[in-house]
């Protein structure tokens, strides 16, 4: 029962997060005219490859695999995530 209670609690948090994002995403379409505070011509530095959270997907996925296999924690890794299919 303890596990099911914890699952339910963790699940509620997840549902809340997803629900909030759903509201954010689907609500207020009519008020989307937010003026970007960083103009497109000011984004040179942001577009530089050195600013990428994960420049090399193959190398990053391998390091995530190493950490997932050796550490108890899993999930929310950088890049697109994906897990390793291992246990």
């Amino acid at each position: 029962m303890t596990h099911f209670t914890s699952i339910k609690s963790a699940g509620k948090k997840l549902l809340l997060a997803v629900g909030l994002l759903a509201s954010l995403a689907s609500g207020g379409c009519g008020s989307m005219e937010i003026k970007p505070w960083v103009s497109p011509f000011e984004r040179n530095n942001l577009a530089d490859p050195i600013m990428s959270f994960s420049r090399d997907p193959v190398a990053a996925a391998y390091l995530h695999h190493v950490y997932q296999a050796r550490e108890g924690a899993r999930g929310a890794e950088g890049g697109s995530g994906g897990g390793c299919g291992c246990n």
């Binding site: 339910k8 997803v18 689907s26 990428s52 391998y62 299919g85």
Partner: protein
């Protein structure tokens, strides 16, 4: 079955989210278009060595896009494993193993909506894993914000070499939300949440726990581990990239984790990327610290045989800390002399990881009373050497 109800509710909400994002894609009036990942091929040698374990092998990724709408990719990955780790030598003998992993993916871009679908199969002599993933992301608020959600499902089959009667199943579901935000013209942040639920056989079918046994000469015996058949975990992370006043970037990361097995963990990472344009080089340095508490049912030494319902002595479930120091160098070159290619890079990344356990003892140190052996620790080196070609 609360888990089933939860899963179906979560799926409904996930679908609602996807619908919301798609509606947003249709109605938002923003300017810059999202792009598909660049066409590239990577050929990598990877290696891990430490604690009596050696794993190496190749990984090959090929990605090709069509008409800026669709990009398909495939990855072939092999782990060649030789293990004489402390878990193995204390209860069995050294073994070799090979794991092959094949992945296929399709990415689709429609306006500012990016969708990805992928399938992965992993096979080894005693473990098969199949998983698929669907993700969707959307740029909005003038392309200053990217919101992505994804769902993955995995089905694994666990076997035990030398025991034809043993076969167990594991089912895994993963829910992920990613939000990337432009803060200033020099700073980006990314926030990520990932929830994972597992049901089925979750332990390693070979690993054993030790318990006090006065009938044994050494004072303790071994018996098979018993894990719960469900696990749910939540991980949250925040990352920031900052472009320095000169052409270099600093990366910060903090991640927090907890699960229903009682493991609480966090890690932080500090990284620095520095290009040297004169030589077409990019240097990277990083430091990472990770710490976790033990699972509720973990013990290095149980007081007796079958001491409790669930028992583990898997060192990945112990309390420990790791520290990583890593470095990398990338050399970029023009590859237009190769027909069909634009440019390429040669990359070498190496990480040194130190593991220090708080409640996992080194049983290879004999002649000591059970439970008084020194605490275990080891270090490992992780290598990635790869060539990337863009076309």
């Amino acid at each position: 079955m609360p888990l089933k109800i939860l899963q179906s509710s979560a799926l409904r909400l996930l679908l609602q989210t996807l619908l919301g994002v798609i509606l947003l894609a249709a109605f938002s009036g923003v300017s810059l278009a999202a792009v598909l990942p660049e066409d590239r091929s990577d050929i990598m040698y990877h290696g891990y060595e430490g604690g009596g374990l050696q794993v190496d092998g190749p990984s090959v990724l090929v990605r090709k896009g069509y008409k800026d709408k669709v990009s398909v990719w495939a990855n072939y990955y092999v782990d060649m494993i030789t293990s004489a780790s402390i878990d193995v030598v204390s209860t069995a003998s050294e073994y070799t193993e090979e794991r092959k992993e094949k992945s296929l993916g399709l990415d689709y871009l429609h306006g500012k909506t990016f969708m990805g679908l992928s399938y992965t199969n992993s096979e080894e002599s005693d473990y098969s894993a199949h998983s698929w993933r669907f993700g969707i992301s959307q740029d909005f608020f003038g392309d200053l914000t990217t919101l992505g959600v994804s769902y993955a499902r995995g089905a694994d089959t666990v076997r035990r070499n030398g025991d034809l009667n043993f076969e167990e199943e594991t089912d895994r579901q993963t829910y992920r939300v990613d939000l990337t935000q432009v803060i200033t013209k020099n700073m980006l942040i990314s926030m990520n949440y990932e929830g994972v639920t597992d049901e089925g056989f979750l332990n390693n079918p070979y690993r054993q726990v030790r318990y006090l046994d006065p009938n044994e000469t050494r004072g303790y015996g071994y018996e098979l581990e018993v894990y719960p058949r469900t696990r749910t975990s939540s991980a949250q992370a925040i990352r920031a990239m900052y472009f320095l006043p000169y052409r270099a970037a600093v990366k910060l990361e903090f991640r927090n984790y907890n699960d229903t097995w009682g493991i609480d963990a966090y890690n932080f990472e500090l990284g620095y990327v520095h290009p040297i344009e004169k030589y077409d080089l990019t240097l990277e340095l990083k430091y990472r610290y990770y710490e976790q508490t033990a699972a509720d049912f973990y013990s290095d030494l149980f007081p007796r045989s079958n001491a409790q319902n669930f028992m583990a002595r898997d060192k990945e479930l112990a309390a420990f800390q790791t520290q990583t120091i890593g470095g990398g160098i990338t050399y970029e070159f023009n590859a237009d002399w190769l027909p069909g290619f634009k440019r390429g890079s040669v990359n070498l990344f190496m990480d040194y990881i130190d593991f220090q356990y708080d409640d996992f003892r080194d049983v290879t140190r004999t002649g000591l009373a059970p439970g008084t052996e020194p605490l275990y620790g080891f270090d490992s080196v992780v290598t990635r050497f790869f060539v990337s070609l863009y076309y």
